[in-house]
Each structure stands twice: as structure tokens, then as C-alpha cells.
Symmetry: C2
Subunit: 439 residues, 2 copies
Amino acid sequence: MIEPFSKAEWSRKSWVESANEAGCGFPMQSLPYCIFADEEGRARTGVGIGAFVLDLRWCRGAGLLDGLPGPLLAACEAKTLNALLGCGSVAHAGLRNRLMDLLDAEAEEATREAVGAALIAKETATLLKPVESANYTDFYASIHHATRVGRLFRPENPLLPNYKFVPIGYHGRASSVVVSGTPVRRPHGQTRPPEAGGEPAWGPTQFLDYEVEVGLYIGDGNPLGEPIGIRQAGEHIFGISLLNDWSARDMQVWESQPLGPFLAKSFATSVSAWVVPMAALAPFRYPLTLHHPDDPSPLKYLFDGWDQYGGAIDLTVGAWLLTSVMRAAGEAPHRLSEGSLMDLYWTPAQLVAHHTSNGCNLLPGDLLGTGTISGREDESAGCLLELTAGGKKPILLPNGETRGALEDGDEVILRGFCRREGFPDVSLGECRGVVVRAV
Amino acid sequence: MIEPFSKAEWSRKSWVESANEAGCGFPMQSLPYCIFADEEGRARTGVGIGAFVLDLRWCRGAGLLDGLPGPLLAACEAKTLNALLGCGSVAHAGLRNRLMDLLDAEAEEATREAVGAALIAKETATLLKPVESANYTDFYASIHHATRVGRLFRPENPLLPNYKFVPIGYHGRASSVVVSGTPVRRPHGQTRPPEAGGEPAWGPTQFLDYEVEVGLYIGDGNPLGEPIGIRQAGEHIFGISLLNDWSARDMQVWESQPLGPFLAKSFATSVSAWVVPMAALAPFRYPLTLHHPDDPSPLKYLFDGWDQYGGAIDLTVGAWLLTSVMRAAGEAPHRLSEGSLMDLYWTPAQLVAHHTSNGCNLLPGDLLGTGTISGREDESAGCLLELTAGGKKPILLPNGETRGALEDGDEVILRGFCRREGFPDVSLGECRGVVVRAV
């Protein structure tokens, strides 16, 4: 369901001036969480506000968080956000309200002074991996992605018969999830033999790709054997981030039958450093409409009524490319594509309800990827596999370079934001990764 | 490679008489690790010896482990085996040697007395989940399983072209791995529409199955981006256990295209409570022979030379069924099948080398399943899908009951052991699970 939100809350301004600028993306209504390294390199919990990171450990020490629940206060001193995510929605709302009061333009001078001492300039802060996800699941929620990729392999029958009933997903590799900025080493692997019956090739992948996705972080989990109903499912999502599901397409096509992708994905998955809480997305939630009037109704366990079906998020995500030639020439990254989370066939709540429908237990901090976010138009495709028609139609970059696949030195930059007339933009920040040559 | 072992070590006897009995399965050369609940219900690290569990925390407190590395001693007081697994092979060998000396028939009277105080009768000990695996991967290493299952769906072309080159595997769900004895709730799920284009059915699975597997626990891991070579791969495996990869076949066949199994597996995976260290398996290791003379040589990164190719394990595993009718009548479990780890196409070392060949990082305690262990003969098939030809030929049980799939109240019991003339049997214990009715 779609939670109501307060217009008054969304018109508040902060004494942190940079947070009030229209395009800053980090208004006082967002307050995304992060883990950053302090001067001694120790991991600390922080919150983004305007051009700053607010040090929550410092806030606690200064008594600014007094009265909030003990486990929440302890979680503000942890080295990852895992404990914080598991504190429950009441505690999360309490912390959000307290931080908004501390940052409010009407706050007293003494409060401003105390909080001001806990602000670190964002550009000087090193952001670390925010959550150690015990489990990472990747979905396939864009029907446009599924159709366009399916067309490459089955032109006559691109979309499989289960697609409009089953939110297709698979278990990903949790250990190789890395934070934005971590270089991504080109993997070795087997690829399909040039001739049927021959020996497969072995070497660095020749078709390295990115996938634009959004990651959903689980807050409260569920016990094994106890599914989460569709109406409760949204409450189990703490927040979201950007996610790049790096893929070695030539390895993937050879290894994936019959059990799905494995080494083609498990060499690296990048996540952005900010976890934007769902509370920050309230004005950007809309009912999801069916993809097509002939589409079947969702099965009962995935359906919460036509009046408020879904709770989709109007979030724009895009991918930019910066090649080493462009970097050397001081050029800006080139936008490859832009898409919207509204284009997905399934909502975040449906992904959670489906995931637990068999009794599977989710843990606080578990990460769910949406799958590649691609729209109907070819220009909104969220990966090179689609944009280049399987590598056959390389992209021409403004500087004359072409790309059918990622090359060493290429940096992929994902960006995401919510925008609505009368509301401040809410940014997901960036998710960056440079491809480095194979071992 | 196959590690040498000392015949003298394997002829040692213990003052714990029950450990010297031929069929006990827990001789002083095995010393499998476990986590058990003490009288106050606290999790403690233990080691199996004959009819007893040796309390390692008590041993440490009594000074019996003095001189061993500090991290190892701390790990002996942990609530899971994770820290112990990450201590490295030198520390593991040190602990094994010390325990063998403490338990040796030649040990001094004072030692026997001190150690005797740390022995708990196995039948009174509650065994807990031994390892919290951060990541669980499931392979598909039995060519007989792959062929027999493939035949159900593609009679003319059962084995896919990648099988003899790629150790096929996929990421499993780590959060729902449970210890032997945990009831397994029948999951709900979608199944294929009765007619093409129709709506899928939704409800409790009608084809619940088990899969006989062996689990490999990782000791030392590897950093992201640094593959483990085939000659080093074996050293990264700490030990093994039994594993039941419960499967809902009707859900699996509907959901698995194109990304592989998901909810059909993630409702539960059972592991046995004992982790048998690789050191206990040394006399039972053999080179792997090719499945067929025409089979291709493994690719270089999976091949460590014909002279010592593989390091397969001569381990017999079987599945027994105890229905609620049999239980009420006091009947013994009925053996459904028996197979051997020698029948796998890939060795444990090859699975590790392949898994990390793209740079994927393994962590201490990570769990790798072999995949269903099925032999060439139909009677050695390790799951009902094979034994009943997809449910079409139900099994007749001795009491007149039939089974095409598991029913509520059915208990599946996996057992595994190594046997070799002139050596004591080494047992993996049991992995049990009762099916309970859907929510």
C-alpha cells in the first residue's frame, strides 16, 4: 500500500543552507544513511544532509539523541547499518523525527552549534560499504528488459509464459557485493565453443556489461516458514540504493543452462554508499498500472487491491560512461540511457511478498535487486546487451569511440533521483566502478 | 591433489572404548566438530569421539589445550564453528594432534581423568547448527543425476553441451539452511497452468522431494579478484557434512526459466550437525577417473595432472524414508537409495577452483553443495524425481504404501560413511528432517 505523507513535513527547511537548494538531492526530508571513515579510518554511521555528512556517533555522545531507544542508539555506533536496519519502523521514525528537529531552520542556536560540530563536508568523507548483506537476491522485474533480451535468443517468442505471473528472481552472490568506487576486475571464464561440440574458450570475458538496478534493503525480517503478506510487505523494506549488476555476457550464455547465471555475475556487484529510507520516498509513490490491458491480474498473494495496487516508486535512474580516453581529455561522462522504476512490472512490495511466499526467511540488511531497469523505448534500456543488440550494434560515443562491450579503464556511473513539482529532489547519489584489466 | 597420510596415525586406539568399535563411525582419527547446547542451553564447540561429545571449552578451561594459538583457543569458545574454520590449516592440524594425544590409549591417568570430565554422552547432547554460512552454493556434479533429470525434459538430448566442461552451479539461499532435526514446512508456490496460456495454480507443493548431497565447508577463503588455483583448492576445504536440498519440483519447473531455481529450493536446506574434517578422510581419497574414455580433458584451470587428478572421496551416502504409518507401527526406516561420491563428475577441489576462477571470494564457513549424488544405476538415484521418473512411477514401500512425492509426516534420513579394509569407518552421522503440513 501507499503510505500517506504530511505536506507540512515536506515544506520544512533546514538551517543547513545547502540542504535547501533545489537540486541538491539531500534535503532534510531525505536523510539517507551511510557508513563513512572518520579521521582515524574507523567506520562510523552517518546521515546525508545538503553538502554534509552528519556523524551519528558524535550526536549520540553530545546527548542529541537522548530518549531514543537503547538498541537504536547502540546501532548508531556500529560499523555497518545492519543493526540499525533491524531496529523496527517505530525506532526508525523516531530517529528521523529527531534528526529533522535538530536540523530544522527553527532549531535553537545551541542545538545548531552542537549539531554543527557533527557535520563533515561530504566531499572530504570516505564512504564505506553501508550494509553487510547476509543474502542478496536479484529479480528480473522489467518486462521491457525481459522482452528485449528474450528477443535476442527467441525472436519468435521473447517473453516466457511464466513472466506475467512469477516475479522471476534468483539468488545472487552476497560476498562479492562492493561499494561504489571499488574497481571491478575483468573476470576470466569459459565461453561457448566456436563450433558445436568443440572445446570452450577460456580467458578474460570479451563481453563485460553493466546493469542499472535499484537495491532494496530489508529492515525487519521474517521467521523461516512465515510468509509476509502483500499488505505488510512494504513495511519490511527499509530503504533503497543504486545497484550495478556487472555481467559477463559471453560467460553467462554458456554457463546458465539449466541452473541460471553463476560466475557471469558473482565477480562483483556494486552498490551506492547511501541508503535512502522509504520515508524519504513517500511523495514519489504511485499506484502501478498494468503493463497492458490484456495482462492477467496478479495472483491473490501478490495483489493488494486496484485502488492502491503496488506502491511503485517514480524514480529516474540512468547510466553514464567515462572511458579512459574521455577521462584523459577532461570530458564529462556520456549518458548511455535513462529509465524509470515505474516501468517495472512488479513493485517492491510484490518482490518481498513473492520472495517469502514459500516461507523463505529474510534477514535485516538482506539486499534485493530489482533487475535491470529498462523502459519500452530502446534508449531507456539499462544494459549494453540491449543497447547494442547483443553486441552487434556498437554504440558511437561523442568523441568517436565505439562500445559494443565495456573496455578496461571504462567507468560506469549510475545516478538516480526522485523529482516532483512542489517537492525537493531526492537523490540516490552515484554508484561508480572502473573496469580494471584481468589478472 | 591427494594428501599422504600416516598408517601409524590410523592404527592408534583411544582409551574411550566406544571409539574403537569397528562400526562406531567416530574413531579417534575422525574427531568431527559440532556445536551443542550445554545444560543451560548455551552453544558450545564440541568434538565427536565414540559415543561422546568432547566439550572443547571445558578442555580449554582445564588447560588441556595450552600452547595452541590464541585465535584457535578463542574459536573453541565461540557459538558457531565459523571462527574455528578460519584459523588456518596449521592451527587445525595442531588441534587435531593435541586431541588425538589427549584421547590416545597411551595417555596418562591424569589426562584421562581431566578429559573424561569433558565428555558428554552423545545421546543426551542437543546438537545445534554448526556453521552460519554467509554464502551457500549448490553444484550439479553428478553426471548421472544431470542425465537422468535431463531425460525427463529432453529425452533426445538429456545432457547439455556445457556439462562436461563447466562444473554447473548456482547460488543457493543461505538464510534457510537448517540443522538436522529441524522440521521442514511444505511450501506454497505457483505451479504451471494446466493448459498453456491459463492461470498457474497456487497452493502447497504437490511434488516435494529431497536431494542427497554432501556439503563442503570452506576453511580459508580468498580475497575478491584472486582465484584459487586447482592445486591449492583442496586446502581451502575444511570439512564435509551431509546436505538435503529439499525441492518443490512442480514449483521448480514453472519458475526456473530463465534464471534457475529460486523458491522451489529456498524454503529449507538441511545440513547434518557434524563437520568431518578433511584430515579424517585421507585414507578414503582416490584419483577420479574420467566418466567415459571419450570425455574431454578438463580445461587447464580445472586439471591438476593425470597422476593425481582429482582427489575424489570414496564416501557412501544413502537416503532412508520413515513415513508416519511406519513410525506408528514401530518399523525401521526404509532405504530408498545408496550412492557414492566417487560417481561425481567433478571433485571437491574442482568445484572450489571453478567457483573462484572469476575472482569470486569465498569466506570461511561458506557452504558448497555437491548437487544430488546419483550413480549410474537407477537404484542409486539420490532423489524421488529420478527414482519415480518424474512422479510417474511411484515407489512401493515394504508396508504397502506408495510414494511419488513426499507426504506430510514423512521423515527423510540421510546417512554417509567412508569404509576401507584395514581402517575404521568414518561416519558423517545423519541428516534428518520431517515434512510438516503447509501453513
